[in-house]
């Protein structure tokens, strides 16, 4: 299952970044596919990107909402919010675990052999909601200049995915841009380095603490069409699900947690008793086929 997930993560990354002509054109993709939403965090200024980033698009639409209204356009980011809302309602935070390119980068870095792995304080996980509310919505909408235009606060000051996928490649592709490098770039570069280094010792630190898209999708985990469910009669509360969870959740104590990225490691690797199942609209899609064998073994040991 983990190999399949990695393969799907890789395919999703390639599909959302499949413009391979950028070394020739020295520019980003400007075709019709850019009307499609990248489900994960994938900067649309990345030279290979063929889709738009929902977090970037929401900020751009909100920061210019006054200008849009003045010109008679009703661009409130309803198309973008509608799209990510439908993704969230259908699949919860499954995108984070299976489709997000920056999630894949963090997972690969966490595989580096380092002696000490560190879990972060739980309180830091609430920062991502502040990012979503303030940096993505309120600040671009409300903090405006004399022409009524705001700033894309999250993209401009925080997003490490933008620096990794777009900032650094564009500097190599368009040498003229190098002259404009200043505090802004170094600030973003510092954030990128912090998160990449942090990923080596902590599993998915950006997803846990900062990602506004993950925060948004996580809100749907309890009500999404596809979700992981717990069969309490089969659960022995052994805690093995927590041992394998990249997000540090003990599933039986946090069913529907907004932190769950539905990577299904708890179901396939953690739970020996088939207590965790993947469901769609209440119908069971996947369960652990080791259930009976392991349960029998456990009962034998207990006896």
């Amino acid at each position: 299952m983990e190999a399949l997930r990695k393969l799907i993560q890789l395919i999703a990354t390639l599909l959302t970044n499949s413009y391979f002509l950028f070394p020739v054109t020295h520019n980003i993709y400007q075709g019709p596919a850019k009307v499609i939403c990248a489900p994960g965090l994938n900067c649309y200024s990345c030279p290979a990107s063929t889709t738009y980033c929902p977090i970037g698009a929401i900020q751009q639409l909100l920061l210019s909402v006054r200008f849009s209204l003045e010109t008679g356009s009703l661009f409130f980011s309803s198309y973008v919010v509608g799209t990510v809302g439908l993704i969230g309602t259908a699949t919860g935070r499954i995108t984070c675990g299976w489709l997000c390119p920056f999630g894949l980068v963090q997972e690969l870095l966490y595989k580096l052999p380092v002696k000490t792995k560190v879990e972060l304080p739980y309180l830091l996980r609430y920062v991502k909601y502040l990012m979503l509310v303030f940096f993505v919505v309120l600040m671009p909408l409300l903090l405006v200049n004399e022409w009524g235009m705001g700033l894309p606060w999250f993209c401009k000051y925080v997003c490490p995915a933008g620096t990794l996928e777009a900032g650094i490649p564009m500097i190599f592709l368009q040498p003229d841009l190098r002259a404009t490098i200043g505090f802004l770039f170094y600030n973003k570069l510092a954030w990128m380095i912090i998160f990449l280094l942090w990923s080596v010792v902590t599993s998915r630190p950006f997803c846990k603490t900062t990602c506004p898209l993950g925060a948004f999708y996580g809100l749907f985990n309890k009500v999404s069409l596809i979700k992981l469910e717990l069969n309490e009669t089969l659960c022995t509360k052994c805690g093995h699900c927590a041992d394998v969870c990249p997000m540090g959740i003990q599933f039986n104590e946090a069913v529907g947690s907004p932190e769950c990225i539905m990577c299904m490691r708890c179901m396939r690797e953690g739970c020996d008793f088939g207590a965790i199942t993947l469901t769609c609209g209440g119908m069971h899609l996947l369960a652990d086929n080791r259930r009976d064998r392991k349960k029998d073994k456990f009962i034998e040991q207990e006896l």
Partner: protein, 52 residues
Amino acid sequence: MKAQSKKSGIKLSTTLLFVFFLSLLLFGLNVKEPQRVMEQAWNICLECIGIG
């Protein structure tokens, strides 16, 4: 039996969310927001990549 049937169906809250976000999406399509999103995504956002 009642609890069983409740579990096997799609929740009302899920359905309502689907309707809500689908309405938002359709509203966006109606006001031609995708065209605006695409135009934005065609340009390099210098601020976004830390250069502007």
